[in-house]
Amino acid sequence: MASITTKPALVTLRQVLSELRKQGSTKKLTENQMARYVLSQYRKHQTTDQQLCKAADEMHYKAKTYFEYLHFTRKYKEINSEFKGKGERSVEETARMVGFKLPHDPK
């Protein structure tokens, strides 16, 4: 019987909590409503994660999906902010690059 307390499911739990810690505005996980909710869901489905007796692994799959959502949104933002164009250089910056000064700068 698939259970949420198997090792892969706990690995996913750790990954979700780590993502929540990285993204949230509060530093403590105990203050994070989602972290508390995820933990309570894990506890609730400790014996089995089969809802409606439909399929095994349902809650674990959901946790994995949520982890991937959090992880890849953060990764997208990181890559984007690293490589994002910073626009044109200002006149002062360009002048300094080639060793010039602007007319009103002190000599």
Binding site: Q33, L52, D57, E68, Y69, T73, Y76, I79, F83, G87
Partner: protein, 285 residues
């Protein structure tokens, strides 16, 4: 009739004027230069959720989150509301709306800006099947081998799951889609409610493949695997020509986030009934 050349000239002149005034006024130049699109600073301290009868709402400092059309954003289950609250809480300095897929999906299904019905989306998705990425196998030997190794198990799953026989194409012509396939899939798509169908459409457009999305919904693949299969040719080329983080990895991250977001919406809408029953059980214990 308006002469297009005249408009072009007018635009050109107005750009000239802007440039001149920029040289005169450095402060305006800085403002214009740094603004690419409208951004909002974070204006709230904490995010939370409230229950309103059977629906859930998201609050930003006691103000209720609303859709672009001004309706209150309500969702019909708790985990999704919590996920949206976390999504807003993750916007530390600026609110980057293009990356908030869960909010966007809920907004679209509430506001329905395209005035679509479930039948419109279904017929659009049925037309998509003939151009599914998985149905176009390459003519190049090496890539074809890779595609057969990775794609064929998913196609076999698809045929078995829906009891169909879908042909594949080896050139540019889309393969034939039988009326039976369309009927079976139409029934399947219409069994979802509108928010789920809207999310399904979003995920399919990201993956460019209805088959992969259906495999994700049935938990045959996780989003990361599905994205890898959808980008198989790109990955094959990357092995030969090298990986560029600001193109390939950015693309991969965005696609996976989109697919995972749409899956979360689909899952939460399909398990609403069981969730309602469980909360009743909780009260009695």
């Amino acid at each position: 009739m308006v002469n297009p050349i005249n408009i072009g000239l007018k635009m050109f002149r107005s750009i000239n004027i802007i440039q001149k005034s920029n040289i005169l006024n450095q402060s305006i130049n800085n403002v214009v230069k740094n603004r690419y699109y409208a951004t909002h600073k974070r204006f709230f301290r904490r995010t939370d959720i409230v229950q309103n009868e059977k629906n859930w709402e998201v609050t930003l400092d006691h103000r209720r989150l609303k859709t672009p059309n001004g309706r209150v954003l309500t969702v019909n289950n708790e985990p999704l509301a919590r996920a949206i609250a976390i999504e807003w809480d993750a916007q530390i300095e600026h609110i980057a709306q293009p990356t908030m897929h869960l909010t966007a999906l809920c907004n679209t299904s509430l506001d329905n800006p395209g005035k679509l019905s479930s039948h419109d989306i279904t017929s659009y998705l049925l037309d998509f099947i003939a151009t599914d990425t998985l149905l176009f196998h390459s003519e190049e030997e090496e890539l074809k081998e890779l595609q057969e190794q990775k794609w064929v198990p998913v196609l076999e799953w698809f045929n078995k799951r829906f009891g169909l026989k879908q042909e594949i194409s080896r050139d540019l012509m889309p393969p034939p889609v039988s009326t039976e396939t369309r009927a079976v899939l139409a029934r399947h798509f219409l069994s979802y409610d509108f928010p789920a169908l809207n999310a399904m459409c979003f995920g399919i457009e990201a993956l460019k493949s209805p088959i992969l999305m259906l495999a994700c919904v049935d938990r045959f693949l996780v989003p990361q695997e599905a994205v890898l299969l959808a980008r198989l040719e790109e990955e094959y080329q990357v092995l030969r020509w090298g990986r560029v983080p600001w193109a390939h990895e950015l693309n991969q991250a965005e696609m996976t986030a989109r697919v995972a977001a749409s899956l979360l919406v689909i899952q939460s809408s399909s398990e609403r009934h069981s969730a309602a029953k469980k909360s009743q059980g909780d009260q009695s214990t």
